[in-house]
């Protein structure tokens, strides 16, 4: 690898995850390394373990074997305050349905800051947002191109707009790594391209590593320098792309 000297941001080594105690293996020895600022796509059929991999990374499911290192620390099995510290540095964007619909757009965006806010401040903001907080939310929304939706009802947004809000929330979190789980699966092809362009562009500009699952190989090839294929709970680097086009332009080829 060309950049072998750079310390890895995320190192997964032989991760195993079981469905419940002694259940079926969901991940069996998955290994993966992501460097700071790197963009990696993970492709594979449904049930291959992509979502489980993400959940293992941010500690939502316990791992039964292997080690996870993040920013040079062993974070395997972290819990409580340590887990919250880890999660603060990793933003998650899901396929859909993870916004709190009854809250206005700006509150959904600022929810990204909850990890670094005290509970008292969170409660105060919920009741009485300050100008500075509005400005921060607006800046994040401007970065995703929907600044005018600041005070809109979240329910009233289209699918593409909701996904942009989710991205804005991830930006507010100021993460070192973004995990995007099928971020465009429920969008029409044109919107999907728009959202991926935005996401990759922002990751590049802000030097945030991006790990993104996709089920359309052509989109993966077009937007990501590195593509990892997952099947049956094992991750395999796709040779054609390994060490290939990382760093090339992110703009759509056509």
């Amino acid at each position: 690898m060309a950049m072998a000297e750079t310390p890895a941001l995320l190192e997964l080594h032989e991760i195993e995850v079981r469905a419940g105690d002694g259940g079926a293996m969901l991940l069996c020895g998955a290994s993966l390394t992501v460097r700071p600022g790197e963009r990696v796509a993970i492709v594979g059929p449904s049930g291959a373990g992509k979502t489980t991999l993400f959940r293992a990374i941010n500690g939502t499911v316990p791992v039964s074997g292997g080690t996870i290192r993040f920013a040079g620390e062993d974070v395997t099995g972290d819990a409580g305050a340590a887990l919250r510290r880890l999660r603060r540095r990793i933003a998650v964007i899901a396929q859909k349905h993870d916004l709190v619909e009854p809250l206005q757009v700006h509150r959904n965006v600022m929810a990204g800051a909850l990890g670094r806010w005290s509970t008292g401040r969170a409660v105060r903001y919920l009741a009485w947002p300050s100008h500075a907080e509005f400005a921060e939310a607006e800046a994040a929304l401007a970065a995703v191109g929907i600044a005018h939706k600041l005070r809109a009802a979240t329910k009233s947004l289209s699918g593409g707009e909701q996904q942009r809000v989710a991205i804005a929330r991830a930006l507010i979190q100021e993460p070192m790594l973004i995990l995007a789980d099928e971020p465009v699966a429920s969008l029409d092809p044109r919107t999907a391209v728009d959202v991926l362009t935005l996401l990759c562009g922002l990751a590049e500009k802000r030097k945030v590593a991006l790990l993104c699952t996709l089920h359309q190989p052509e989109l993966a090839a077009r937007f990501f320098g590195r593509v990892v294929e997952m099947a049956h709970g094992v991750a395999t680097e796709r040779p054609a792309f390994a060490g290939g086009t990382r760093g090339t332009s992110l703009l759509p080829a056509a």
Partner: protein, 461 residues
């Protein structure tokens, strides 16, 4: 010490002696007999009416409307009426329950039967089957499980109501309860309330068994007939009833009574609003504390038990006790509605918290937010819709119940009705009854509107 606590202490410990428990077999049997007889009649009348309505037979809808009209008069008010018209004891109580539940069950059966799947019914119709055949071969088998389930819910509610109608002279446990309160035998009152809770939970077990073994239902008709015979009206003084009823017309209020009317209505609405507010304020923390996905088991289980107990004691029984503890008047009424509503709302709130979609909650937890922040930014806002809907429904129900708790001395329009009835001023009494019906109708109208606005989904259990 504050009179409230001194009075409350007088209710403990409950009085238990073999002699007293034996003496209570009579009142308990009377309450149960009253319920069984009344519900037997209610089911017997409502099922054909419901079927007639669902098959669109001529007159079906009209019959259902007519029966549903009795629902507009609260059960306790009906009981007072029946005591005036047909004399004391379980007969009058049974009649009041039968009238009220005929209305309730006919509406419920009709609504259930109308939701029968269309295809099988259409197939039957295509064979040239007549309405009765469609009902027997299509509607009944298709909906029998639902009819049984909801029918048994109504039975449970009738058991509680039998105690309520007893309080105004309908006999059974209710009469005994009022008697112990008037006679300062408060420790016996507690015994009676515990017996009521045991009966209600026993009936609950029984209906679960019934749903599992529907054959048990064949025991109901003979028991129902026996109950009708032993606890039904011993005689119907129809001449007296007709004369007394005629004496209630035209409904009249004196100038002074007219003058007081707005204040009375205001007091009734105030009782409902204060009771609901009390319940909402305490149901939020208790609902959170009993939601399985939020609170640990050692907190949730005891809180659930507490809510169950609060809810198994009807508003009127709370009212009777609180009138002793907090004094006659609207405070007792509001507290009575509040405590029962707290039991109901606490459970519904807990369910609302439990039914919150998981994805947004998980998403916020994934940002590293602490548990209180997650509750504030996701769980709470997501549950707010159902919580608001449940609270609004409770207010509407309490509006209805506020007219009822007045009857036992808790103020408002109910108290005016009761005082007029006690003094045998039957024309003003009729006038107050019409006002009550108007308040209940307004509450029902509000209820329909809320339901149409929120949709049924929030209330699906």
């Amino acid at each position: 010490m504050d009179p409230f606590w001194t009075q409350l202490a007088a209710f403990f410990p409950p009085y238990v002696s073999a002699h007293y428990l034996l003496a209570l077999i009579g009142p308990v049997a009377e309450s149960l007999g009253m319920t069984v007889g009344a519900m037997f009649v209610a089911y017997l009348v409502s099922l054909p009416v419901g079927l007639a309505m669902a098959t669109e037979a001529p007159g079906g809808r009209a019959a259902q409307r007519f029966l549903a009209g009795f629902r507009a008069i609260p059960d306790l008010t009906l009981a007072i009426f029946c005591v005036v018209l047909f004399g004391l004891g379980s007969g009058a109580g049974m009649l009041a329950l039968a009238l009220y539940y005929m209305g309730a069950v006919a509406k419920m059966f009709g609504d259930l039967l109308r939701t029968a799947p269309a295809a099988p019914v259409a197939a039957l119709r295509a064979t040239g089957a007549n309405r009765a055949q469609i009902a027997l071969f299509g509607l009944l088998p298709l909906k029998s499980a639902d009819l049984l389930t909801y029918g048994s819910y109504e039975f449970e509610s009738a058991v509680r109501a039998s105690v309520i109608v007893g309080a105004v002279g309908g006999g059974g446990l209710g009469s005994e309860l009022v008697g112990t309160l008037a006679g300062l035998d408060y420790q016996r009152t507690t015994t009676l309330i515990i017996i009521l809770i045991l009966i209600v939970s026993g009936i609950d077990r029984l209906t679960v068994a019934l749903r599992r073994w529907p054959r048990l239902l064949w025991l109901f008709p003979p028991i129902g007939i026996a109950a009708l015979y032993f606890y039904g009206p011993h005689f119907l003084a129809l001449g007296h009833a007709a004369r007394t009823f005629a004496g209630m017309f035209p409904p009249t209020l004196s100038a002074r009574e007219w003058h007081r009317l707005p204040a009375l209505i205001g007091e009734t609405v105030g009782i409902a609003a204060a009771g609901t507010a009390f319940a909402v304020v305490f149901a939020l923390p208790l609902g959170l504390a009993s939601a399985r996905n939020i609170a640990p088991g050692w907190v949730a289980v005891p809180v659930r038990r507490l809510l169950e107990t609060l809810r198994s004691i009807p508003e009127v029984v709370w009212g009777l006790v609180l009138i002793v503890v907090a004094g006659v008047g609207p405070t007792a009424g509001a507290l009575a509605l509040g405590l029962h509503s707290l039991g109901c709302l606490g459970r519904l709130y807990a369910e609302s918290f439990e039914n919150v979609p998981r994805a947004p909650v998980v998403a916020l937890a994934a940002t590293g937010a602490g548990p209180i922040s997650v509750a504030g930014f996701a769980t709470f806002p997501l549950a707010l819709g159902p919580i608001a809907a449940h609270s609004l429904f409770r207010f509407e129900w309490n509006l209805r119940m506020a007219t009822v708790v007045g009857l036992i001395g808790a103020g408002g329009i109910g108290q005016a009705l009761y005082d007029a009835q006690q003094l045998m001023f039957y024309r003003p009494m009729m006038a107050y009854l019409l006002v009550t019906v108007a308040i209940v109708a307004a509450a029902d109208f509000l209820n329909e509107r809320t339901r149409a606005y929120f949709g049924w989904s929030y209330l699906a259990r």
